[in-house]
């Protein structure tokens, strides 16, 4: 069996993978292979035609395709081997990649691997929706691809479940394309996405938003005909006497994203139960030496800018590892945990000497005004703190802490609101 050897192989060519491939090359890796199952590079950005990308990294407000093209052009200028329409089927602990391509099965043996497979949307099964199973129920991302890439409207009367960013952006997109968006229904007390999208996607077009409501029935036999939903009572039960029935031919689900980690599991990578992605250190090194993870495969990010920054770091680290200049973290090193009020933390492991500032990405559990973020060490001493006027689960927090002792310490991040602290 013939194997192709290379320095660094990157799996997935979304913004994380593109940045990782560029940075691996720029940091000295010579044979870089970028593997993408789609026909084109760019990942999910290809279908995100709205603006709001790149304000931090490029200093400009770009659309998804524009942002992607900026990086694709750089990849194309470098001697990076892009294998499109190639799907990675297997990844082993000793970094062997098996992929299916038009030329048949490929075997690739890199010295380091960057995982950049992104995330996928939660589907109906993952949230146990009641009612019938007619046609016309799809994820918001599927509808986004239909309209923006293939050019047809998935329906004329739409109801959207979940107020994540993709759901709200699709509400505006469908409205502008002439569909009637009946309502956005959200189970939580607050929207799941950014307030920018609440204002510019829903309020701008008077699209009704029902917070703290859940779907109680989906009507229709062949095609969706309508949806019933009801407000939640104090104990979280639907109040059926206050049920609202709306007609629609399409129900879009925008109920969250899950990191895509089938390959990571095959390679025996240790996953974080909370983020759903691999446990990584500051170099985005996973628990398997030589395998790095960047972008939404590690943790669902809200801003593509952070995805690109992580991708660059992962690519650089992979190049260093391929040259034998980077060590894997050992089990005895410091761990970082999400404590009270904190949903997720990245990185989860601190490795190497405490060489300067360390960047952390966190998510709050709930909307908290006048929040205090603290990092405590195993001795329960506060070693870092920062105040925020408001933190929201939908908006990732990024902070930089200095002078942390990385040897066998256990750190915990906590978020305290003004009322209870």
């Amino acid at each position: 069996m013939k194997k192709t050897n290379c320095d660094v192989a990157v799996i997935g060519a979304g913004p994380a993978g593109l940045a990782a491939a560029i940075s691996a090359y720029e940091n000295g890796a010579r044979d870089v292979i970028l593997i993408e199952r789609d026909k084109y590079l760019g990942g999910i950005l290809q279908q995100c035609i709205h603006n709001g990308f790149g304000i931090h990294v490029l200093g400009e407000d770009k659309t998804g395709p524009e942002y992607a093209e900026h990086f694709i052009q750089q990849v194309e200028k470098l001697p990076i081997n892009c294998l499109t329409e190639t799907m990675v089927l297997d990844l082993s602990e000793n970094l062997t990649i098996q992929a299916s391509s038009k030329q048949g099965i490929l075997h690739i043996q890199p010295k380091a691997v960057v995982l950049a497979m992104g995330c996928r949307e939660r589907t109906r099964g993952a949230i146990a929706l009641p009612g019938k199973r007619p046609a016309g129920i799809m994820t918001a991302g599927t509808a986004q691809r239909f309209i923006n890439c293939e050019g047809y409207l998935p329906g004329k009367k739409i109801l959207i479940l979940g107020s994540g960013d993709i759901g709200m952006i699709m509400a505006r997109r469908l409205h502008l394309e002439g569909a009637q968006v009946q309502a956005v229904v959200e189970i939580m007390d607050c929207i799941g996405g950014l307030s920018r999208n609440l204002v510019q996607c829903l309020q701008d077009f008077d699209i009704p938003l029902y917070l703290r409501h859940i779907i109680t029935d989906i009507r229709g036999d062949k095609r969706v005909e309508g949806v019933d939903f009801a407000p939640l009572g104090d104990e979280g039960q639907p109040q059926l006497d206050k049920k609202i029935s709306l007609d629609c031919d399409t129900l879009l689900l925008s109920v969250g994203l899950i990191p895509e980690n089938e390959l990571s599991k095959k390679a025996g990578i240790q996953l974080d139960k909370i983020t759903g992605g691999p446990i990584v250190d500051k170099n985005f090194h996973t628990s398997v030496p030589g395998i790095f993870a960047a972008g939404n495969v590690a943790q669902v990010f809200d801003l593509v800018d952070h995805v690109s920054i992580c991708g660059m770091q992962a690519g650089k680290s992979a190049a260093e590892y391929a040259r034998g200049e980077l060590e894997h973290f050992s089990e005895s090193l410091s761990k970082v945990k999400a404590g009270p009020g904190v949903g997720t933390v990245l990185p989860q492991v601190l490795s190497g000497p405490a060489d300067g500032p360390l960047k952390f990405y966190l998510r709050a559990r709930q909307v908290t005004r006048k929040a205090l973020l603290q990092l405590r060490n195993s001795q329960n001493e506060v070693v870092f703190k920062k105040k925020f006027r408001t933190v929201r689960p939908a908006e990732m927090i990024s902070v930089t802490a200095d002078n942390l002792d990385c040897s066998a310490n256990e750190y915990t991040f906590e978020l305290i609101g003004e009322d209870n602290g």
Binding site: T63, C149, L176, R392
Partner: protein
């Protein structure tokens, strides 16, 4: 009595704080509650006088490796013009190849602002 007095409530989206701004307009002058920062005040003023949005949509493209071309207005246009712009754009069809940034329509909904390609699409 105060004929020219209006009050507005809006959610500021300039930074992650997401303040709820209450603005009072008296004879064209705006007054804000204490604690609303300068950027928030500027945003609120603009939102009340003439809210503007980038329009991003698609047009059909012939002879390209893809069937849809993503496009955007090069600057934000008045919110009231969005529907008119969408109608005008619906009838546009382009032909590949198209380069990123190429002007697809020079004047969107009589705003004087052009519509440009957000992507390079090669010909087949």
């Amino acid at each position: 009595m105060d004929k020219n007095k209006n009050t507005y409530k809006l959610l500021c989206i300039v930074c992650p704080e997401g303040c709820e701004i209450e603005a009072t307009e008296i004879d064209g002058e705006f007054a804000f509650e204490k604690g609303i920062c300068k950027r928030g005040q500027d945003y609120a003023r603009q939102e009340i006088i003439n809210p503007c949005r980038f329009l991003t949509t698609t047009v059909r493209i012939k002879g390209g490796v893809q069937t849809m071309l993503p496009v955007r207005t090069s600057e934000a246009i008045s919110k009231d013009k969005l529907a008119e712009a969408m109608q005008q754009i619906a009838s546009i069809e382009t032909t590949a190849p198209i380069k990123l940034g190429e002007v697809i329509c020079s004047n969107v909904a009589n705003t004087g602002i052009p519509l440009v390609a957000s992507k390079t699409v090669a010909a087949i």
